[in-house]
Subunit: 174 residues, 2 copies
Amino acid sequence: MSSICELILRFMALLLTLAAAIIIGVNKQTKFVPVQLNPAFPPVEVAARAKWHYLSALVYSLVANITASSYAAISTLVVLATRNGEAGFAQVITIFDATIVGLLFSANGAALAVGIIGYKGNSHLQWNKVCNFFDSFCDRVAISIVLSLVASFAFIALVALAVLSLQKRFATRT
Amino acid sequence: MSSICELILRFMALLLTLAAAIIIGVNKQTKFVPVQLNPAFPPVEVAARAKWHYLSALVYSLVANITASSYAAISTLVVLATRNGEAGFAQVITIFDATIVGLLFSANGAALAVGIIGYKGNSHLQWNKVCNFFDSFCDRVAISIVLSLVASFAFIALVALAVLSLQKRFATRT
């Protein structure tokens, strides 16, 4: 039963982090701002672009989600292959799961912290909000953070499940 | 042996997160900027202040470090009190440890992401660097992040130690 739960959680984490990475990776928005260069002529439209690689927090978030997604895929295969084998594999996988918890939460913290400044700005530091302008760009970043956060909690649940079920695995072996 | 390692790691995490929280909590810097209001008079000195509660990422970081520090203190007592008792306590503590990994890493990710913008600025979003001005404030934030990051890895080590030693605990009981 717990091994079915584990596979569902791993597959869910795989899909969520993959979706989060894709959403960040393809995210860009171009807006045209009218600029009056000379009062005698009509204003010129200047393109303003928002891209994920303009912000190191989003670059880190993309890398972290791709890493977590690849790890979820590999660990699913390892779990399937060693289902009836050594409990030692389950221990190593659980330690890696805890490391991915750290990786994903740090990425989500970073993206969220920068996102909050993007939405609200910071008057003390004179960092202006940009999400009122790059609205759909920010919305997609927000969706990606939510998906990735759910995946982060799935990895915590995987650690919890393993800690609770290791008892059973060892009990049947000793 | 592993229980001594556990206590050392917990005590280390307690001290590091406490130090990180105190460094953020007392961190402030005031600088005086000369402003020329009237060319006929000498420039007036205007105070510019940097405080931890100006940035939501630092507020979150302070709360996360205080939470982790309090948890490290409580869990040390629980571990000492239940050392020879039920292995079930060790399981619950390990699940909480994994949750604290998530909390601390998200806080460090948030503080680091905002810190990087503070140090380097972001020309695409026209967010100017502020750490060339509030130098000692930023340096103290950086020290606090490093201490808290070491504590985060200590919590991952605690999860790893528990996952590896649960085998022994259950083996002696089944």
